[in-house]
């Protein structure tokens, strides 16, 4: 927890002291972490729901998980983990002064996120093709626990997918800032903060994957 005030830490370090733009690296990071806490709680609420319903319908959840494609889920997990790696590497590259390498690595991250979303599209498509989606006739005929399992699956992976899209958009903006020099080796907090966001998005999937795919 940053204990010093921005004044003591030299809040304007690294930029023109004549400028009236206030720069506070630690403050910016701190604010980003606070935002991440809100995301943790958002998904935490959903995980709470999951645990309540799973304790009510253990067998139905087991059955539902068997219907999901573990291979595709595992591929998606590897894809996201790799994208986190490329994002972290993008930050290191920027720290070491290689803006161009950082840009390529950011682009890699976006591309991998795209792969994730394409896989997700096929997964959802398969389920919807089998008439399993909230409100469908077939779904209403399933046992209660399975209805809840699939509803949770759609809502949680859907919410997560939305955050993947948001993350992609954010990183695209960051790529633009990298290309035009707004983000540079002297001031890369925007890149770091987007990296933090991306790692969170990855981490949420790391929890989703076992809870939906591996509990058989």
């Amino acid at each position: 927890m940053p204990g010093e005030s921005a004044y003591a830490a030299g809040g304007n370090s690294g930029s023109n002291p004549e400028s009236n733009v206030h720069r506070d690296y630690l403050g910016a990071k701190f604010g980003m972490w606070l935002f991440l806490f809100t995301e943790v709680l958002l998904f935490g609420g959903m995980f709470l729901l999951y645990s309540v319903f799973r304790s009510r319908f253990p067998l139905d959840f087991h059955k539902g998980a068997e219907e999901l494609n573990v291979a595709l889920g595992a591929v998606n997990t590897l894809v996201l983990l790799t994208s986190s790696l490329s994002m972290a590497a993008a930050i290191t590259a920027m720290q070491k002064g290689s803006a161009r390498l950082s840009l390529y690595l950011q682009g890699t991250t976006v591309a991998l996120a795209g792969v994730f979303l394409i896989n997700k599209y096929y997964e959802w498509g398969a389920k919807i093709g089998h008439d399993i989606y909230p409100g469908s006739e077939h779904m209403m005929e399933l046992p209660h626990g399975e209805i809840i399992f699939y509803s949770l699956y759609y809502v949680m992976t859907g919410l997560h997918g939305l955050h993947v899209i948001i993350g992609m958009i954010v990183i695209l903006f960051v790529m633009r800032f990298t290309a035009n020099g707004v983000i540079n080796s002297g001031d890369y907090i925007k890149l770091e903060n987007s990296g933090l966001y991306w790692h969170l998005v990855d981490l949420i999937w790391i929890y989703l994957f076992p809870l939906f795919y591996l509990i058989t």
Binding site: Y7, D24, T38, G45, L49, R56, M140, I148, S151, L152
Partner: protein, 535 residues
């Protein structure tokens, strides 16, 4: 450097309305919030007066039952989501916090402006729900499943508006917490910080950690209505009580978002108008943090009659009693601050004293609600309505009025009419008790809440209560006219008209854009008498 222009005169290169709605100056943003909030407050008051008009006698008076249901829903949504929750932090916190910390602005000024824009967007969406689709929601502001899932009224849009408003709240909390960590003036250690920033700090954490739960709950309600996902539907394996749990896990901490900044204002006013250091500064700090923390653990007390286990219920009841203790400590400390002080009975102090009285009644009736046995008697009755109006209106509302009067000279650079302010305060106090005390009585006797019609035995209480609503409305009009006229034409104010000891009183009234010509160095506690050189 000379005499920099005030933030009101210096438009920073923009003209017209753009100088306000695109400004990242925390003081201008505070004014934007203040004007918006007060407009919504007036709308909410109008709805309240209309409700009381309907309830003046049994049977139909001025509206149909469906309209009444929509009216009380809208009254709640506007007052809670558009007025009280943003309320003090957005309007007064935004203005005063950087000044009290010795800072030039908050940590993230552009995010601050975005918070206001999001607030306006959320308000706009909520207002739209009045006019589109099946008409305004009739579920009550709590939107309980299953009715909120089934009703044909425009729940989805209204709830989406509340969802958007949640982002505004989160960003404000995030901004303030970071500001307090990073931008305190040199020498201002944590325990030299005034109590209003402490209250905003605790509130900020609650905003950050509790609001997302509301976000997910409202999202699930929308998904339930639009796609039938089934989490709250027993026909699909869900449970409507789950909605109640999720809803109150946010909405109980939300009431602490409402009250903690209010208490912060009261903690500023008592020492200033007693010309003394506040009594028990550290205890007030720890009480503030305790209320914020314990407030997360008591949500079940809204659901005692929902069928929870006995064990859960007595635990929630015990924790509810526990969370009342730090509030009590604060009340004792405020009163003790006046002891042997040089007390000036100016209007801010009168409002603050009204707060202590009204909040105490509210708090004590909260305990009656929190005891399991009595709760069965009064759950969903007018007693609860009386209780929460005593704490939210008599508490937070009155504290906000107190703060607006206290910081009025600093914000506008002018003085308001003291006689009119005192008259408004007295009239409000009388009207308030006339309006809400009968609710406590008739609630105990069995008058349900949210009921359009009632048995003749309750008529006399409703009649008195409605009279009270007119007195309250009159007092608010007197107060509004006084403040609005004085803001334009009041006598000019000096920098420190009240003799306050916190940093905002060391800058001109109104302050320049950058707040301080030079960032101060702090060498004393917030309420210690300043040295001869004014520091």
């Amino acid at each position: 450097m000379g005499n920099p222009a005030s933030y009101i005169k210096d438009s920073q290169g923009r003209t017209g309305i753009s100088a306000w709605i695109f400004s990242t100056d925390h003081k201008r943003i505070a004014i934007l919030y203040l004007v918006s909030l007060m407009s919504f407050f007036m709308a909410g008051v109008t709805l309240g007066v209309l409700m009381r008009l309907e309830l003046i006698a049994p049977g139909r008076n001025i509206m149909e039952a469906q309209t009444y249901n929509a009216t009380f829903t809208l009254h709640g949504v506007i007052m809670i989501f558009l007025f009280i929750i943003p309320g003090i932090p957005a309007a007064l916190g935004n203005f005063v916090l950087p000044l009290q910390l010795g800072a030039r602005d908050v940590a993230f000024p552009r995010l601050n402006l975005l918070s206001w824009w999001i607030y306006i967007a959320g308000a706009g969406i909520a207002i739209m729900s009045l006019f589109t689709g099946g008409g305004p929601p009739d579920t009550g502001w709590t939107f309980y499943a299953p009715y909120s899932v089934k009703t044909q009224t425009n729940v989805t849009l209204a709830v989406f508006g509340a969802f958007v408003l949640g982002f505004s709240s989160i960003l404000t909390g995030l901004n303030f917490v970071t500001t307090i960590h990073r931008l305190r003036a040199p020498g201002m250690k944590w325990f030299r910080m005034p109590l209003f920033p402490w209250s905003l700090y605790a509130t900020g954490w609650v905003q950050i950690l509790a609001t997302p739960i509301l976000g997910v709950t409202l999202l699930l309600l929308i998904l339930e209505r639009q796609f039938g996902v089934g989490f709250f539907d027993p026909g699909k394996g869900g449970d409507p009580i789950l909605y109640e749990h999720l809803f109150w896990i946010y909405s109980h901490p939300a009431v602490y978002i409402m009250i903690l900044p209010a208490m912060g204002i009261i903690s500023e006013i008592f020492p200033a108008f007693s010309k003394k250091n506040v009594f028990g500064y550290s205890f007030i700090v720890f009480s503030t943090l305790s209320i914020a923390g314990l407030g997360y653990l008591v949500w079940g007390h809204h659901m005692f009659t929902s069928g929870m286990s006995d064990t859960s219920r007595w635990i929630f009841s015990l924790l509810t009693f526990l969370v009342a203790v730090p509030s009590g400590i604060k009340v004792f400390n405020w009163v003790a601050t006046m002891y042997k002080g040089s007390v000036e009975n100016d209007s801010p102090l009168l409002f603050a004293m009204a707060f202590v009285f009204l909040f105490s009644i509210g708090g004590l009736t909260g305990l009656i609600n929190g005891a399991l046995s009595t709760n069965v008697q009064i759950h969903d009755t007018a007693f609860v309505v009386g209780h929460f109006h005593y704490v939210m209106f008599g508490g937070t509302g009155v504290a906000m009025f107190a703060g607006i009067h206290y910081w009025f000279p600093k914000i506008t650079g002018r003085r308001y009419n003291e006689t009119a302010a005192r008259a408004a305060c007295l009239l409000l106090f009388i009207g308030f008790n006339t309006l809400y005390f009968p609710m406590l009585v008739m609630g105990w006797l069995g008058m349900p809440r949210r009921y359009y019609d009632y048995l003749p035995v309750f008529h006399k209480y409703h009649f008195v209560s409605t009279l009270g609503s007119w007195v309250v409305a009159a007092s608010i009009i007197i107060m509004a006219v006084n403040l609005v006229r004085s803001a334009r034409r009041g006598a000019a104010s000096e920098a420190n008209p009240w003799g306050g000891r916190t940093l905002e009183w060391t800058v001109p009234s109104p302050p320049p854009v950058e707040n301080f010509v030079q960032i101060p160095r702090v060498r004393r506690g917030a309420y210690d008498a300043p040295e001869k050189d004014g520091n």
